[in-house]
Amino acid sequence: MRKDLVWLFAGILFFGLLYLLNWGVKAISTDLLVWIGAFLSLAIFSFLYQDNPFYKFAEHLFVGVSAAYWMCMGFWNTLVPNLIAKLHPPIVKGVLPAIAEKPPEYWYIIPAALGIMFLMRLSPKAPWISRWALAFIVGTTTGLNLVRYLRSDFLGQIKSTLIPVIVVENGSLSVGGSFSNIVIVLGVLCGLIYFFFSKEHKGIFGVASRVGIYILMITFGASFGYTVMARISLLVGRMRFLLGDWMGLLQ
């Protein structure tokens, strides 16, 4: 018998026993499903110490269950209503009565054909056909993203940087406001200079690119620091489940 499996089974058995024996104890949960959730949570947490049979078990279960989850979602939420029901509505009469009455839309034959082309990878004779579907996907992605990024990230961000570097408020100069705006404008300019590829970062250009790096470092430090609290709140949530819902230690 393998040692890791012995440990795994012993652990599960122990957990099961605890579950069975807790019937008299008032606080602890009696819900088997909560116990399963608690066991899986602890199994994942155990990875923090080191890899072990419990983590391996939870990880492999997670992979299997979640892969199937997304496949079922794809089947029922995309394939059936957006393809089968469009091509031949009566087929889905049994599952989606509301859609079954609509007239068929035959141009959906195109994605169906592309999907089948993609599967031709498996064919021993013409696997290269799958590249046509792939070329379609890549063409779509690049075409759509080119314009999307140009719009919101290029034009949009530049537009928000068109700000006065001297701020006048109620007729008088606002020192703080002006300083902030100067930092924003110079910060964006220097940041962009840092990204220059085809010019050596030397002289004035080099100085600006150094400033650019510092601005980026402030950005990274600040965003990191800002996120820490949100990450801890996730752990608080898990602990409340373990200590409260499962062990009943919280009122």
């Binding site: 923090l48 609290m229 709140s233 608080v236 919280l250």
Partner: protein, 293 residues
Amino acid sequence: MSFFETIANIDRRVIFLFIGFAVIIPVLLSFSCREEATPIVQSIFDKIESLPEGSKVLMSFDYGPSTVPEVQPMVDAFLRHCCEKNLKIYMMALWGTGHNLISESMEDIIEKEFPHKVYGVDYVNLGYKAGNQGLINVILTDMKKMYTTDARGTEIDAVPMMVDIRNLKSFDLILSLGGGFPGIKEWVLFGGDPGNIPMAGGATAVSAPLLYPYYPRQLLGLLGGIKGAAEYESALIKGYPKFKTYSHPAIDMMGPQTVAHIVIVFFIVIGNITFFIGRKREEGEKREGGVIK
């Protein structure tokens, strides 16, 4: 290995252990630390505090279930404060998901904790209307064009507290809760600014930084994430000690978060101290080495 080296190369599992305890212990003890309201939060509290009885407050529920943990505590605190101050509360939603959240908030806070409040006189649910910023644009000049009934289907002029409402300018304060789109930004740009109406809001921690630029001119205050909510809850408890016995989920969340935060800050400080001492020593050794050679 010297003491400093040991600390500098500390096994990360030790840090994990500290973080674990930093969360478990405060959760077990329901430890909460006193949050001091920062000016950006206190100014909202002061504003509501300064409103005379019967003032009209419009609350827009611009969030969905995924951000409920962060935003709901803010809503609850605002509702309690307004009810306590006998302000008239008008609730609406720019988000479809906000509709149910209004009903739930009414049930959980107003109906349960302030049972003497009368629907239609002290508070009203105007429900969700589509249109995003366009909706704000219209109600800036005419409220009843969009809201011909309340969410319960009562004709709008039959709701007593709606009689003297013409448009957004009829309100003394607008509170937008959410932070996504549409949300606080749209309220500022299309409601607060053009109508010159006092505005404040509560946003998720992620979206709050993008709203800071509007404070304090266009937004009189802003609650950012759980921390902002906790600060408001403490301001409320400070002003009205009776709320101490009420639920304060944000403060409860903050306790463990703060302790864990401090542990992280502590480790950063220790890491740097040992790093510098280590480097000094290395330099010293190098120099000595040079002499011997």
